[in-house]
């Protein structure tokens, strides 16, 4: 049954790739890529349990971290057209605006 779960997740990943290629706007594609990353984490874990080697979970942890960073990096790049802009306002303190 674990193998069936893995096959179902791979089917979902194929459908998400179709949405990534078709997506009418940029944000649809970013959302599909983010969901694809989550499914990659789950599929890696399930692959480890199917092959009786749960050490695959280390790679899954790595993917769970990369997924978030890549989503934020893509959004930042398409907002500012550059990776060099700081996201945090310098000298700002909480919600207080210092001009």
């Amino acid at each position: 049954m674990t193998a069936a779960a893995l096959i179902a997740i791979l089917l979902g990943m194929i459908l998400l790739l179709i949405r990534t290629l078709l997506g009418p706007t940029l944000y649809d594609r970013v959302l599909a890529v983010n969901s694809f990353g989550t499914k990659t984490v789950l599929a890696l874990g399930l692959l480890g349990f199917v092959m009786r080697r749960p050490e695959f979970l280390d790679i899954a942890i790595l993917y769970a971290m990369i997924n978030f960073v890549s989503t934020i990096a893509i959004l930042k790049f398409f907002r500012y057209r550059s990776f060099q802009v700081p996201l945090v306002r310098r000298g700002g303190q909480g919600g207080k605006r210092n001009g």
């Binding site: 674990t2 089917l11 979970l57 907002r79």
Partner: protein, 124 residues
């Protein structure tokens, strides 16, 4: 008392592999449902609602199923780390995507799905 505990332990050892496999399959079915929603919903914001099914319920159920099948406690700790990462990053990423779409001027579809054609007919 010790006898009861031993019986409970034996029952848990017997039942944990089928229960874990069933939870994994249920979570995978939830993931497929969310993906079908992402494929078929008409709008970006509704697609985000469908994608959140995968991130929350599907992932949590699959991780609990894998924790039931885990051979030792180190695997359970790794699964807990993955759950903690997804618990923190998935809502943040969803908020970032929705905020970027809203700031970028993407308008949500309001009204019934085929009402856009009616509006065009009215305008024409």
């Amino acid at each position: 008392m010790a006898d009861t505990l031993a019986n409970l332990h034996q029952f848990f050892e017997l039942v944990r592999y089928p229960a874990g496999s069933a939870l994994c399959l249920a979570g995978a079915i939830l993931c497929v449902i969310g993906t079908i929603g992402v494929m078929r919903f008409p709008d970006f914001y509704t697609r985000m609602h469908a994608a959140s099914i995968t991130d929350t319920s599907g992932g949590t159920v699959i991780l609990v199923g894998m924790a039931l099948m885990a051979p030792d406690w180190a695997v359970v700790v790794k699964l807990g780390v993955i759950f903690w990462l997804m618990f923190l990053t998935s809502p943040t990423a969803s908020h970032a995507v929705a905020n970027a779409a809203h700031t970028g001027g993407l308008q949500p579809l309001i009204g019934r799905i085929n009402s856009k054609r009616d509006d065009e007919e009215d305008a024409a």
